[in-house]
C-alpha cells in the first residue's frame, strides 16, 4: 500500500451508505492516550519523541488491529502526501504540519487510523459511513483493549486517562458526526441546529472553512464533555438526543423546500449540475457549494443517474492535494513541482469533475 494507491479509490467511510446517510455522511470516534512514565509531547526531547514513535509503531503494527494496516512516517513524508492524508481525515492538520518525529498507522480500508505523537502520544480514530456510532465505538474500544495489553497508558483513578490538554481528560473520547445540512442553510434555519447543539454542550463547526460559515454545508458536531461520564453514556446521549433532532430539522426543511419552492430548488440543483458539467475552472470552494446542491438533488430524488457515492468521492478527490496528486500520477510532474498554481489546479479540477459527471 502506498499513498499514491489511496488516490485511486474512495475511503470506505465515504461510500454513501449506512443509516441516515441522506444527512449523516460519517460517524467518527476517537480516543486520546499517553504512555505511562513518559512526559507529554511538549516536555519530550526529540530523542524521546523518536523513542515513542518507534515503540508505538512496533506495538500497533504487531497488534493485528485490522486488515492490511500500514505505517506512514509522517515526519519523512512530503508536503503533498501529508496534505493528502489530512484531506482523507487520516491525520489532523496539526499532525500534518508539525515538525517533530511522528507517524500514523492506517487500516487497509482507511476506517481505522492511529496517529502517533499528535497532541497526545496516541490518537486513535474509527470512521464509519453514515450513522454507525455504536459500531465505531465498539471497534475503537476493542483496539484500545488490544493496545492496553501491550503498553501502559497514563491513568489516574481520579482523572481517568491523562491527556496533554485537560479538555480531553477522563475518557479521552470524542465522538462526532459529519452532517450535510443544505436545506437548513437554504431556508435560513441553520441557527436551529446551532442552538440545539449548544444547548447540549456540543461543539458545532463547519467542516471546511471556519466557524459556522461552512463551505458546502458540511458541519461536524462533537461532544465537549470527556470527564465524569461513562463512554457508553457519552455515545448514547449523542445518538439519542442531539443527532435525531438536527436530522429532523434538516429533513423537515427539505420537505418544505419541495413543497413550497419546488421550481426554485430545481433551478438551483440543475444549474449546479450544469456548471459542474461545463465549467473550465473550478475553485475548491465553488466546487463544494455546487456538489452540495447536487447531493441535495440526489437525496430529493430530483436527479437520477448519479449516485451518492460518486458525489462523496468527488468532494474528496476535488480537494487541493488530491487534485495535485491525481495530476501528478497522470504524468504531470511529481516532487516539488507538484505545487501547482491555483489557476492550473482549478482547471484540472474542472476537467476532472466534468469527465466524472458526463461519462455514462
Amino acid at each position: 500500500m502506498t499513498l499514491s494507491d489511496l488516490t485511486q479509490r474512495t475511503s470506505e467511510w465515504l461510500r454513501g451508505v449506512g443509516p441516515m446517510h441522506d444527512v449523516v455522511i460519517s460517524s467518527r470516534v476517537r480516543l486520546a492516550r499517553n504512555l505511562a512514565g513518559m512526559p507529554f509531547l511538549r516536555k519530550c526531547t526529540p530523542p524521546q519523541q523518536q523513542e515513542i514513535t518507534d515503540r508505538l509503531r512496533e506495538v500497533i503494527l504487531s497488534a493485528n488491529l485490522a486488515e492490511g494496516v500500514f505505517y506512514v512516517d509522517v515526519a519523512a513524508a512530503g508536503t503533498l502526501d501529508r496534505a493528502l492524508l489530512a484531506e482523507r481525515h487520516l491525520i489532523s492538520r496539526q499532525h500534518a504540519d508539525a515538525k517533530h518525529p511522528r507517524g500514523v498507522v492506517i487500516s487497509g480500508d482507511e476506517t481505522v487510523s492511529i496517529m502517533i505523537n499528535e497532541e497526545d502520544h496516541v490518537r486513535m480514530q474509527v470512521l464509519r459511513s453514515g450513522m454507525q456510532m455504536h459500531d465505531a465505538f465498539e471497534k475503537i474500544n476493542r483496539i484500545d483493549d488490544q493496545l492496553e495489553q501491550r503498553v501502559d497508558f497514563a491513568f489516574s483513578d481520579r482523572y481517568g486517562y491523562l491527556t496533554a490538554c485537560p479538555t480531553n481528560v477522563g475518557t479521552g473520547l470524542r465522538v462526532s458526526v459529519m452532517l450535510h445540512l443544505p436545506a437548513l442553510r437554504l431556508t435560513g434555519e441553520l441557527d436551529k441546529a446551532v442552538h440545539a447543539a449548544r444547548d447540549m454542550r456540543l461543539a458545532i463547526r463547519g467542516l471546511y472553512g471556519e466557524g459556522t460559515d461552512a463551505k458546502g454545508d458540511f458541519f461536524q458536531i462533537s461532544n465537549q464533555i470527556t470527564l465524569g461520564r461513562a463512554e457508553e453514556d457519552i455515545v448514547e446521549e449523542f445518538l439519542t438526543q442531539i443527532v435525531p433532532e438536527i436530522l429532523n430539522y434538516e429533513r423537515k426543511a427539505r420537505e418544505a423546500l419541495l413543497k413550497h419552492n419546488r421550481v426554485e430548488i430545481d433551478d438551483k440543483i440543475f444549474r449546479a449540475l450544469a456548471l459542474l458539467r461545463s465549467a473550465r475552472r473550478l475553485a475548491s470552494e465553488e466546487m463544494m457549494a455546487l456538489l452540495s446542491l447536487l447531493r441535495l438533488g440526489i437525496n430529493l430524488q430530483r436527479i437520477d443517474g448519479i449516485d451518492l457515492k460518486t458525489v462523496n468521492e468527488l468532494f474528496l478527490l476535488g480537494q487541493p492535494a488530491h487534485v495535485q496528486k491525481i495530476h501528478a500520477l497522470r504524468g504531470g510532474q511529481e516532487g516539488p513541482a507538484a505545487t501547482l498554481p491555483a489557476d492550473e489546479r482549478d482547471e484540472i479540477r474542472a476537467e476532472f469533475l466534468r469527465r466524472r459527471l458526463t461519462e455514462p
Binding site: N34, A36, G37, M38, P39, F40, L41, R42, K43, T45, Q48, Q94, D97, A98, K99, E119, N141, D144, D145, E148, Q149, D152, F153, A154, F155, S156, D157, R158, Y159, G160, Y161, L162, A164, C165, P166, T167, V169, G170, T171, L173, R174, V194, H195, A197, R198, R201, A203, I204, R205, G211, T212, S222, Q224, I225, T226, L227, G228, R229, A230, E231
Partner: protein
C-alpha cells in the same frame, strides 16, 4: 493586576485570540471595537480548540502572581507556561496543578471532576510508579544534556528495573 491593552488602540483588550498560522502561534489582543473592525465576531458556539484557551484566559484576572509560579517538580512545567500553551508537560501535572486545574476542569467539564469511565483492564504500572519513572526520566534527560553518561546509564537501569518489576500486574 496589569490589564493588556488592545493591539490597535489604547482601550483595554477584552478579546484574546490565538491563531496558528503555518505552525506559528500568533496572539491577538483586541478591544471589542477593533475586533469588530477586523471582522472578528464573538461566536455563540466555541470550537473545542478554543475552549481551553477561553477558560484559561477567563481565570487570568482572578489569579495571584504566586499561582503562575507553581511548578511540577517532575517535568519542570510551570502553571503559567501551561496557561500560555494550553498543554500540560507530564501526567504528574494533574497533581502538581491540582488546585489551579480543578476549577478550570469543573468549568470545561460541566462540573465533573471525577472519572467514571473505562479503566485499564489489567493493573498496569501503579500510579506512584508511573510518577517515579517520570521523575527518573527527567533526571536522565538532565544527565544526558550534562554529558554525565555514567549517571545516565545508571538511571536507565533504574527505569528498566521499575518497568519490568510489575508485581501488581493482573494475570489476564
Amino acid at each position: 493586576m496589569m490589564k493588556k491593552k488592545c493591539d490597535k488602540c489604547d482601550k483595554p483588550a477584552t478579546i484574546h485570540l490565538t491563531e496558528i498560522i503555518d505552525g506559528q502561534k500568533i496572539e491577538k489582543h483586541l478591544c471589542e471595537d477593533c475586533a469588530e473592525a477586523e471582522g472578528i465576531t464573538i461566536k455563540a458556539n466555541i470550537p473545542i480548540s478554543q475552549l481551553l484557551e477561553d477558560f484559561v484566559l477567563q481565570t487570568v484576572g482572578e489569579e495571584e502572581v504566586s499561582t503562575a509560579a507553581v511548578t511540577c517538580d517532575v517535568c519542570g512545567m510551570t502553571f503559567s507556561e501551561f496557561r500560555e500553551h494550553g498543554q500540560l508537560g507530564c501526567p504528574n501535572d494533574y497533581e502538581a496543578f491540582h488546585e489551579q486545574l480543578l476549577p478550570m476542569l469543573a468549568r470545561a467539564q460541566d462540573g465533573n471532576t471525577q472519572h467514571v469511565g473505562k479503566a485499564p483492564r489489567r493493573a498496569g504500572v501503579a500510579q506512584q510508579k508511573q510518577i517515579a519513572i517520570l521523575r527518573l526520566r527527567s533526571r536522565l534527560k538532565q544527565a544526558i544534556s550534562a554529558e554525565q553518561y555514567e549517571r545516565a546509564a545508571d538511571l536507565r537501569d533504574q527505569i528498566k528495573r521499575i518497568e519490568t518489576a510489575e508485581p501488581e500486574r493482573a494475570s489476564e
